[in-house]
Symmetry: C2
């Protein structure tokens, strides 16, 4: 059997089943955005994310500064997704010998730029050579009061997202098209769609300010349908999404029109939005977008006329063809 | 300027100088084996280590089980080097698509084998595809009472090591020679020197039981001369090593004789021993080997006749040619 057959989530399920022997101070372990651990009378959150050249990024259209920024951003997003505060960052770098110290300096500038915004300290790391491509791993430790997991959504809750969806995936699509056409970074098309491209290269995680009424939360990193499915799996519940309530940016709509692509496909299945998806009573006061409801079972997208179609957990998954 | 010019330690120094803005709860940050952070009234230790195929390991003579074991071992060693207790492990894996789920299963078996020994819980991680080779990153969180850093050695202290040195580096040398000769794993030479090879492929970190009198500590990962130099740098002190007191295993002596190599070179400059080096008053009760003394300044190796030669921080350093 090959990895491509069971995919990333099949593999994680297999591994998770072997790591069940956890002590009581681990409040949530494998299978959420971050692990939550009780240390004395405090709680810490821990998340780790790996970025590999050729898989997660392409140095022909990503600067080292942007890459450093994104490395920290994706980790912050996992801490915010649990209702926590990011605090201490650890950076492992596998660097090909041909790189210059200034490249790594620029990478650190990107990390430090975002670290400053949230008062995060760089507390350690590991630096080594890499034979083939650049490899980054970030581990972020946060603190937390109440911890919000993926399990906790109840039938009747509203489903909310904190930002427009699909922008990052469209940004990536535009970058790939520009590369295929041989256009340099900073070319005309890039200026036109700078907003979408920036959302891909330098995502801006933003926390939900008041988590008191939130019943479950996840960050949208693999795409709305996959990440909402994780909430459904862990909460043992179903969901209905209203197609016309999914927030699309004007830029996404424009880019899709010009390219002859379906913007909704990017919003539903595009990854790396790093917006938060949460569930809460439908009447809470929030400036997040309400896109649907949690139901007892079944997973549906509903169109304007009330017709429901089942959806599957489709989006970005490592190893899958 | 290229990385090969400033080397791993030059790069770390550069990066460290940019990350000075640390809050008071970070007790030790970049530049020790682990970071120590105060969480409420407790202290945690955090270390992270990356292993990259082609740089740190060669799958033609390392099994997945051994690799998993080693990934956790090198992280445990960093926690022991601070006087702490390893607790929660996080694993990031970048896996080429051609790998089988069973390969990763075997890797986890190796991790879990050692985790069980020290009651360490696997608390999370990240799993993604890798384009070229296998990449592993482990982050280990430990707890600690008193924290032992690299700074604290005082003139007059004895220098101690917890195990024979150079075995791992000789084990690697033998594996490379076997590979060059086209011998399979399990070949005759490997049986003969199984002890040395095992020390390279599956190092066994062991803690110092009573740290009360220890003034500084480090794990020997880059070689005795480099790691003792780190103690000297951080403690602002010098050191004298007695050449004839450096503990060499019988196996290392035998292998060196047969191969016509100098065993002392392996003990002084060979990396990946994962023994602990510590300083303490010379008369403490310990079963560690006393190999020298801390002095006010200068770094020397002394031979049987009392002749001293200066040593440099030579051993394994990433990026250096």
């Amino acid at each position: 059997m090959r990895l491509s057959k069971i995919g990333e989530f099949g593999l994680i399920k297999k591994l998770r089943s072997r790591c069940r022997n956890t002590p009581p101070e681990i409040l949530t372990g494998i299978g959420d955005d971050s692990a939550a651990i009780k240390i004395g009378n405090r709680k810490i959150l821990v998340t780790t994310d790996m970025l590999i050249e050729g898989i997660h990024f392409d140095l022909s259209y990503t600067t080292f500064f942007q890459l450093g920024y994104k490395l920290l951003a994706v980790n912050i997003s996992d801490i915010f997704a649990m209702g926590g505060y990011p605090k201490y960052f650890f950076i492992s770098l596998g660097i090909p010998k041909r790189f210059k110290p200034d490249d790594i300096g620029a990478l650190y500038s990107g990390i430090l730029k975002l670290a400053k915004k949230y008062d995060i300290a760089i507390a350690g790391g590991d630096t080594c050579a890499s034979e083939k491509g650049l490899v980054l791993n970030g581990t972020l430790i946060g603190t937390a009061g109440r911890i919000v997991t993926r399990a906790g959504a109840r039938a009747g809750d509203g489903i909310f997202v904190t930002d427009t969806l699909g922008d990052s995936a469209m940004g990536l699509e535009l970058l790939k098209r520009q590369k295929a056409k041989g256009e340099r970074q900073g070319a005309r098309g890039e200026q036109l769609f700078a907003h979408l491209i920036k959302k891909h290269l330098m995502p801006e995680p933003t926390p939900v300010k008041d988590i008191a009424d939130i019943t479950s939360m996840i960050d949208i990193s693999d795409g709305l349908l996959i990440d909402l499915s994780h909430i459904c799996d862990e909460s043992k519940a179903g969901a209905v999404i209203h197609r016309n309530k999914i927030p699309l940016s004007r830029e996404l709509a424009d880019a899709a029109k010009i390219s002859g692509l379906d913007p909704l496909r990017f919003a539903l299945k595009g990854g790396e939005d790093y917006a938060l998806l949460f569930t809460a009573p439908q009447d809470i006061k929030t400036n997040a977008f309400r896109i649907g409801e949690i139901v007892r079972k079944g997973r549906f997208i509903m169109d304007e006329k009330g017709r429901k179609t089942r959806f599957k957990a489709e989006g970005y998954e490592h190893f899958k063809e």
